[in-house]
């Protein structure tokens, strides 16, 4: 327990947002404690890690675009500092993820580290490639005439917004991505879009926190402690035997053992309580007191405080090939239903993702996988030869307007950084900047005040 008078932040939820917030606050000299039964195993574990604000833009979501573009700009320095803090000099052979023979070759693949220089990073530090941060852009492709017309309309909208996109013919698309189906009719290249491996990011964040002596308590928070109108800490669930559902992890457990969760931290079973970090919490005291509680519990945030966040289920599949099949992120609309493919340097290919309003349901379903594979195969027929490495269902924290909720909650002692929906990985750097007071105007877009009085 930290000394009285220390500046203590307790961060509830160790996904990419919570861990990023903890790490940045720790760097800024605050004493932080992260509480999560299984850090990095919720939505961040399922996420594909697209940093694609431009190719994701839709009507009515211009504010989200502004947040995404601002956060993407912060990613190179964020990644460089993170890899430095985590002591990652590059692709680390020590990681327990299966870095097969394709891994080295993959990173040297054409275009890797090229593009707009994002992956090269401007800041000094570690090697952002250790996070598989890449910036070759997103290619949005269309097949039928209807999908092509929709793509043209989207291109016009993007043009109006002044976004740097390039309209390509089918043959131009296939020159960039030869594995695309011959029937591709046209595409839209967002050259500035990037992507990262969220599992490597959360693993690096945990390592960085450990190296800074921050504490990560592997337990579930059951409620916020209150004194008067003030939040003063958190109450932890007692350790539970394996399998007695804590809802807090969302790891569907369907992955085959070979995929690993990166970072050298052994997998922690839901509900089990353990600690990492410089200190070890041996006591069973069920409360942690804090000057400030920062709620970063993703889809579970609404269970702990009055914040309009709901779970939006996403099923996602990881395939594996010896050589990367694609050079950049490819997304497409196949007869009106959309799918994306995200290539990793080591030959992993992420196929996602469904969007379902199913409450706290993390079952992987036959229909979900069928839709993913059906649409992905239309885009890239060659995927049928790949090994299925992993299938997961995660829960995105959705808000009514799809914008995150970041900032003081209105209750003294409680701050929100949640509701990132599909953009937690992209928006993590911006979220930390907002909490550290480095962003003014964009912070207003995310203010919790916009929901006060609604509930």
């Amino acid at each position: 327990m930290p000394a009285k008078g220390a500046q203590v932040d307790v961060i509830v939820g160790g996904g990419v947002v919570g861990l990023s917030v903890a790490w940045r606050l720790a760097r800024a000299g605050r004493q932080v404690t992260v509480v999560d039964p299984a850090p990095g195993r919720g939505a961040s574990y399922a996420a594909a890690g697209m940093l694609a604000p431009v190719s994701e833009v839709t009507y009515t979501e211009a504010p989200l675009l502004r947040l995404g573009v601002a956060s993407l700009r912060r990613w190179p320095a964020f990644a460089a500092e993170l890899t430095e803090d985590a002591g990652l000099a590059g692709p680390t052979p020590g990681e327990d993820r299966d870095a097969g023979p394709g891994a080295g070759a993959g990173r040297a693949s054409p275009g890797s580290g090229a593009g707009n220089g994002l992956a090269g990073g401007g800041a000094a530090g570690g090697d952002p490639l250790a996070l598989d941060l890449r910036s070759e852009g997103t290619l949005d492709v269309a097949f039928g005439a209807d999908d092509l017309a929709a793509l043209d309309e989207l291109a016009a909208f993007m043009d109006k917004l002044g976004l740097p996109v390039e309209r390509l013919t089918g043959r131009e698309c296939r020159r960039l991505e030869p594995m695309l189906a011959p029937s591709v009719r046209g595409g839209l290249l967002a050259p500035g879009d990037a992507w990262v491996d969220p599992r490597r990011v959360t693993a690096a964040l945990l390592t960085a926190l450990e190296r800074r002596g921050a504490e990560v308590v592997r337990a579930r928070v059951t409620e916020l402690l209150r004194e008067g109108d003030r939040v003063t800490g958190v109450r932890l669930a007692p350790p539970e035997p394996y399998g007695t559902g804590n809802g807090g992890t969302g790891n569907g457990g369907t992955g085959n053992g070979g995929t690993g969760n990166g970072g050298g931290h052994g997998e922690v079973r839901p509900g089990a309580r353990a600690t990492t970090g410089a200190e070890t919490r041996a006591e069973t005291s069920a409360d942690i007191r804090a000057e400030r509680v920062i709620l970063t519990a993703g889809a579970w945030s609404g269970e702990l405080a009055e914040v309009p966040v709901r779970p939006v289920k996403g099923q996602i599949m990881r395939l594996r090939s010896p050589q990367p099949l694609l050079n950049r992120c490819v997304r497409g609309t196949v007869h009106g239903s959309s799918v994306y493919l995200v290539p990793r340097g080591d030959g992993e290919l992420v196929v996602g993702a469904t969007q379902e309003e199913m409450g706290f349901d993390t079952r992987v379903t036959a229909g979900g996988l069928y839709e993913l594979l059906r649409d992905a195969r239309e885009l890239v027929p060659g995927i049928t030869e790949l090994e299925v490495a992993d299938v997961v269902a995660g829960l995105r924290p959705g808000t009514p307007d799809n914008l995150p909720v970041i900032g003081p909650s209105g209750t003294p002692g409680l701050t929100f950084a949640t509701g990132h929906h599909r953009g937690g990985v992209l928006l993590a750097p911006l979220t930390t900047a907002i909490l550290l007071g480095e962003e003014g105007e964009l912070a207003a877009l995310c203010s919790p005040e916009r929901f006060q009085g609604i509930s």
Binding site: T58, Y59, V309, G336
Partner: protein, 251 residues
């Protein structure tokens, strides 16, 4: 505008909304408000009715009646099962029956639809079946005890408008249950045309939820449905080949 009555229940709005395709709940909420709808369909297979903060909460807050649908079903068996689950979860015996024949066109399967309709009516449901623009099938479904019939104007989400107005007129002529034009609406004039043809209501989703400004399009649809209804009741003038002076030649 006069009330719409389905299975004895009154609605002052003749615009029925769907919820599919909205980019966010807030955008959907604003569109629903602008549409003035009192009845809205929700796909039961993509929704957990028990979860908080879902689209159902949006509808409850606006006091909009929920019409569960069986979207995504390919067989009568699935549709009947989905309808029963919806009745249990939502406490309504109303169902928009939708049995799809294939994924590309999303056209309704008439045989499976009829089969499911018979079974659901026997089970005490208020059944509103989505069908092709087929006057014979519409009549058979009415005879089977359906509370309304919902012929399409064009395939779901196509925005192609009413491709066969003549068939819709034939359905309207023969029906003594409400006829609800469902699917194919692209813009306000399509909705107005449906009402001018004599439909009792219009059901639409994509035309609003995927518009650049969903709230504006919802308001446009509200106006179009009301205008079309009034025009139908007013009785249009006959079409003439040549001009007829409108200024008086006799006092």
């Amino acid at each position: 505008m006069d009330d719409l009555i389905i299975a004895g229940e009154k609605f002052s709005s003749r615009l029925i909304m769907g919820t599919g395709g909205a980019p966010s709940l807030e955008v959907l909420d604003q569109a629903l408000a602008a549409s003035g709808t009192e009845l809205t369909t929700v796909a039961m297979r993509r929704l957990d009715p028990g979860s908080r903060g879902s689209v159902l909460d949006v509808l409850r807050r606006r006091d909009i009646k929920v019409l569960p649908n069986t979207a995504g079903c390919f067989t009568a068996g699935e549709a009947v099962l989905t309808a029963r689950l919806a009745r249990e979860a939502l406490g309504t015996n109303w169902v928009k029956l939708e049995v799809i024949a294939d994924e590309r066109t999303l056209l309704p399967d008439p045989i499976e639809t009829f089969d499911a309709a018979e079974r659901l009516v026997a089970d005490g449901f208020v059944v509103l079946p989505y069908i092709g623009d087929d006057p014979a099938l519409a009549r058979r479904l009415e005879q089977a005890g359906c509370a309304a019939v919902m012929p399409l104007g064009a395939p779901i989400g196509s925005g192609l408008g009413i491709r066969n107005p003549h068939s819709i007129e034939l359905i309207v002529e023969a029906a003594s249950v409400p006829v609800i034009l469902d699917a194919g609406i692209g813009t306000a004039s399509d909705a107005a045309l449906a009402m001018e043809l004599g439909c009792d209501a219009v059901l639409l989703a994509t035309a609003v939820t995927r518009a650049q400004r969903p709230d504006l399009m919802a308001a446009a649809m509200k106006g179009a449905v009301a205008a079309g209804r009034l025009a139908r009741q007013a009785g249009r003038i006959p079409r003439r080949r040549y001009a007829e002076a409108s200024s008086p030649t006799s006092p």
